[in-house]
């Protein structure tokens, strides 16, 4: 540190006390800080005062660390993501896809995304897939699924539609019911998925992925366990739609 401050004013103890916070917070301008340091070198009482203030700060810091959660609650994260998703949907000017088809596709995305995010594919003791999916689902995972499929289809949703879907997904993800396919898709949703496949505007890739999805849903509904490779394929197919 340079010492070109010979003419710096000498500080008294009350001066130092008045700038105590500036000293411990490192917020003094250079000359003042230098003068304060000189005083502290010579004055034990003020050094003691600074030490005590720093000890108090440490306790205040510790107190701050002990209050509040370690992670952002799902409620907050979900609130943020669903709001921006709604705003994006409103901004999008892409030909709308029928709601029922959208819901079906979103449900599929939920299945796939939860499967891939929770280590289902490589996880220990694979059991009955439907149940595993439901139990493992968090709101965040569910939302990621919705978002992904929204990108795939570029569909437009009303706010009410969106809220209803999200509620449905969230409820299913946490209520421990194993029949996720029938709950989410239902006859209507199945029909929607089927209708969506008839849509002439689909790209080949979209059609391919949706066909595979339909096949997997059929297997699940028949109580069969689709092969792991089928899910991986579907997941990869969906991820290829992901836009930046």
């Amino acid at each position: 540190m340079s010492s070109d401050t010979d003419k710096s004013t000498k500080l008294s103890c009350p001066d130092v006390e008045a700038m105590l916070s500036g000293i411990i917070d490192g917020e003094l301008e250079r000359d003042l800080r230098h003068a304060a340091e000189l005083h502290l070198l010579e004055c034990e009482a003020c050094r003691d005062m600074v030490n005590r203030a720093e000890q108090l700060d440490e306790l205040v810091t510790a107190a701050g660390e002990r209050q509040g959660p370690d992670a952002l609650p799902d409620r907050v994260r979900f609130g943020v993501l669903s709001t921006i998703e709604r705003e994006k949907a409103r901004r999008m000017r892409i030909p709308a896809v029928a709601w029922s088809g959208w819901a079906a596709a979103a449900a599929l995305a939920l299945l796939v995304t939860i499967g891939s995010l929770t280590g289902w594919f490589g996880g220990p003791e694979p059991s009955e897939p439907g149940a595993r999916l439901v139990l493992a689902g968090s709101q965040r995972d569910a939302f990621a699924g919705v978002r992904m499929i929204a990108r795939v289809l570029g569909g437009e949703l009303t706010e009410a539609d969106f809220d209803a879907l999200v509620r449905q997904l969230a409820a299913t993800a946490t209520d421990g019911q194993p029949n996720i396919v029938s709950r989410l898709l239902g006859d209507e949703g199945r029909a929607g998925l089927h209708n969506l496949l008839q849509n002439e505007n689909l790209t080949d890739l979209q059609r391919q992925v949706l066909q595979q999805a339909e096949r997997l849903v059929n297997e699940l509904e028949r109580g069969e366990t689709p092969g792991q490779r089928d899910w991986v394929q579907l997941n990869e197919g969906l991820s290829r739609f992901q836009l930046g």
């Binding site: 006390e17 916070s21 009482a45 700060d57 205040v60 002990r66 209050q67 992670a71 907050v76 994260r77």
Partner: protein, 190 residues
């Protein structure tokens, strides 16, 4: 093109700063539910219109937004002021020093209790500076006060906090002035 934040980046910011911002807001407004709303709104605001200056500007921008909103919550729901009568008793100085080693949890409870008894403006300035490492400039901006007054405000706040701790200790029979950073009477050299 305006600056834009992808959802992926937004998720990262929520992971990295969410818990800290929640603690900040809770510490200010004393209402964990309201704090969650405040933090949620802050991230939505970030997505809608991120601050100029790119990623580096985001943490302090978020802190400022959360601080402002939390202070607003506090003002809307103003809890009854319970400023205690703090009169420092010089006799305390002469009490025998009992060498009590307190464990950290005890110390923390002691501080938390004392902070809860502080008036809001003093408590908040300590929260912002000591618990959330905000600079004086950031504190001034967040609280809407001149930067030049932050140091004196912090001085008064720290002094009061120390006095409250001493007062509590006296009431609970714990002796000593060891956590009092300021001499009891300002400006008295010895």
């Amino acid at each position: 093109m305006p600056v834009h934040i992808s959802e992926m980046e937004l998720q990262d910011w929520m992971d990295r700063l969410g818990p800290q911002l929640l603690r900040l807001s809770t510490a200010i407004c004393h209402d964990s539910v309201a704090a969650e709303d405040v933090v949620q709104e802050a991230f939505i605001k970030l997505w809608r219109k991120p601050p100029d200056g790119g990623a580096r500007a985001i943490p302090s921008w978020l802190k400022r937004v959360v601080t402002n909103a939390s202070i607003n919550v506090l003002q809307r729901t103003r809890r009854p002021a319970k400023l205690p009568d703090v009169s420092y008793d010089p006799a305390l100085q002469h009490q025998d020093r009992v060498d009590q080693r307190l464990d950290l949890a005890d110390e923390v409870a002691r501080i938390t209790h004392a902070m809860d008894r502080m008036p809001e403006d003093k408590r908040i300035v300590i929260v912002l500076r000591v618990q959330h490492q905000m600079s004086y400039a950031q504190i001034a901006e967040a609280m809407g006060i001149p930067e030049g007054t932050v140091m004196s405000r912090l001085n008064r706040a720290r002094k009061l906090l120390a006095e409250l701790v001493v007062e509590q200790d006296a009431q609970s029979g714990r002796a000593g002035d060891e956590s009092l950073p300021f001499r009891p009477t300002l400006g008295q050299e010895r």
